[in-house]
Symmetry: C2
Subunit: 412 residues, 2 copies
């Protein structure tokens, strides 16, 4: 069956999430397929930012810490995120950057498993996790070790020597989704602590950390949760580990009684201990707008649409752009994919630049990956159709060969 524009439009008509699109600012004529890097702006973010700046900071000033509950934002937003990732209330705080939270999480994981010294990571996944764990391991001394294994090597490498298994569920390049339940079960059967990085999962698909019995988790809010550029990350610690272990970045926000200004550190109760210093309130408050929108959505409906969007994209690229040398990098089975699709092409870089110039915003990942994220809250099936039409036009016209698309600059 040949896929048509009419088919795409019909899917939009049936889409139970179609009403969410209007809640986002989208550029006319642009098809934004990079929400897996930076989510689109919820329209309500404009008002919220103005309110925090003009009213809360500008007028209430220091009193806003209580009056506008700035102090409890990490917990309040954390509880909302918890509801999206199968965590309990009081198990998540929204704070700091993902890498900093990962440092806390892995340090706690190692303390929870003190007889072992190995941290296992998937080396090919987003490398900041490698960098952070390499920094931690170097600091802890020669006994400690980073072990890299790719997904097909997990069975052999997750063994009784591993203290902490730290994995990103959805691969940042390929979009491959790991089986959180099975891997957690396997690793825990070997006595490992399991940490999940949900950067490409939270708001992209249903996650159930407690069903999987995850020990710790981290993730960001600026991709599928649409929290704004560099908006604060989150950290989850299962309740069973609370008050048993202290994270090393022990700042005053994690103190039992921050306003007693006691000389010595005394860890706060529960998830509070995972906090460190004063948070960037503006970024934090605006992040809540995106999280709130996601909380209105049924995660099963979100997943269904995500899978249909990515499938339609794959099918259309293969129908319309056949013969141009693209090979699918993402899993063909939608059950094994996150909410993004990657194709490989030797001229990936200029093709992505030409696509952006044509109003189809995806991104390039070295050495040869064209990466497209699909945000079920604001991407439509018709978007997918038009994106692929422009894609085909660029390939047919060979426009990607123009010199301006071949100049390299920093990409995100």
């Amino acid at each position: 069956m040949t896929l048509t524009l009419e088919h795409a439009r019909k899917l939009d008509t049936w889409d139970p999430l179609a009403n969410m699109r209007d809640k986002f600012a989208l550029n006319t004529g642009e098809i934004y397929l990079d929400g897996n890097s930076l989510g689109a702006m919820p329209k309500a973010a404009v008002k919220r930012a103005a309110e925090v700046v003009e009213n809360e900071w500008g007028k209430s000033l220091i009193q806003s810490w209580n009056k506008h509950q700035w102090f409890s934002l990490p917990q309040r937003i954390g509880d909302k995120i918890a509801s999206l990732i199968g965590a309990g209330q009081g198990e998540v705080v929204c704070t700091d950057a993902t890498g900093i939270n990962l440092y806390k999480a892995v340090a706690c994981g190692l303390k929870l498993n003190p007889s072992r010294k190995v941290v296992l990571l998937e080396g090919s996944n987003f490398p900041t996790n490698n960098y952070i764990v390499q920094g931690l391991v170097k600091q802890l001394g020669d006994d400690y070790e980073v072990r890299f294994a790719e997904d097909h090597e997990f069975d052999d490498n997750i063994d009784e020597s591993v203290a902490v298994v730290c994995l990103t569920q959805v691969h940042y390049k390929s979009g491959r989704k790991l089986d959180m339940d099975a891997i957690t079960r396997h690793a825990q059967s070997k006595g490992c602590i399991v940490i999940w990085d949900l950067c490409h999962s939270a708001g992209a698909l249903p996650v159930n950390l407690n069903q999987a019995n995850a020990d710790l988790a981290v993730g960001c809010t600026y991709k599928y949760l649409n929290g704004g550029p560099g908006s604060p990350a989150f950290i989850f610690m299962a309740k069973r580990h609370h008050n048993k272990v202290e994270q090393p970045l022990s700042g005053w926000w994690g103190h039992q009684a921050p306003f007693d200004f006691k000389r010595d550190y005394q860890a706060g109760q529960g998830i509070n201990q995972l906090l460190t210093g004063t948070q960037g309130i503006l970024s934090l408050a605006v992040a809540e707008v995106g999280v709130d929108l996601m909380c209105q959505v049924d995660m099963q409906q979100l997943r269904a649409k995500s899978q249909k969007l990515t499938q339609l994209f794959i099918d259309l690229v293969e129908q319309e752009c056949a013969g141009y040398g693209f090979s699918l990098v993402s899993p063909r089975d939608p059950e094994l994919r996150g909410s993004q699709v990657a194709f490989a092409h030797e001229h990936g870089y200029p093709i992505v630049q030409a696509l952006i110039a044509a109003g189809v915003v995806g991104d390039f990942r070295a050495p040869d990956i064209l990466r497209f994220g699909f945000a079920p809250l604001y991407n439509s099936y018709e978007d997918v159709w038009h994106a692929v039409q422009r894609f085909k036009d660029i390939m047919q016209s060979q426009r990607w060969q123009q010199p301006e698309f071949n100049q390299r600059h920093a990409v995100t």
Copy 2:
């Protein structure tokens, strides 16, 4: 000589910084003396926040990382802060929270002095520094040690056993200012690495880190730099230490080539290595507005006004509120003070609450400190006069004894 309102007004007439006041949003009738906790809002922050949200995030989306130079904000703002604290270009980045930067700084300090294991802190100063160093020391193991010493004990305690001396220049409670040059010289003569916390110094008084030969420094932007609630902090590392030591929170923003997505960490050059993860761009961009305002100011003029404001306040309180049991906690010599004044009173808490209700916003610090910050950019001498008149009225009328002022809640 009795001090009068006319005298205060005359000082305002002569004030070379008087034109800066109009650049800040100030509540009519309110006298804000808490800029040492959260600086007032520059009016331009409203427009900047809207621009970042609506235009940069909302319209340019992911392309803003290059187009609007989001990636280089930490360095760009860092260079501006550098000019305010006597640091060179490329020696400061604006990033993360103060406590997190302190963790990086002390970890680097210990690596620069590997044969020693003691970190010296002033235990009575703002305790998050104690907490952070306690967390770091605990993580590094039993060999390491935190030593607390008060300022009169520095001579005896800063010795050849100390690896790192980590001091906050202006005491958060008393406003006492340490002699940065002399202490740095003394500590370095004993072979110590010296780290300065400039939270109550940056934008409050002239600082010259390189003249003092400081090794590292941290500080916040949300007090006298008026960067907004919880706006990102900064970290300084003297050029002579660059590329010699790696901080442990080694995230991708500190990598030599972040967009090569290499598996292994390779430290970035110079100050870049002090970065960790993706920054909250909204908070960071708005912080620049406050920093830019401070960069318009002559630091000697700022210091002169700060000293006159604090002196006028002390003199007026002692003239108008004599006999009510206040004792000056801050140094009487303006050369030894930062830009704040602290008085002790056994009923400090309700008096501060009554003052706030009367539109004089200062804060209380346990057990008995009334703390007032003076921001030369927006506080006037007439402010000081009226603040003390309201203060006197509260004491004369005994209004502070009203029950509503005696209910404790979290204070900042």
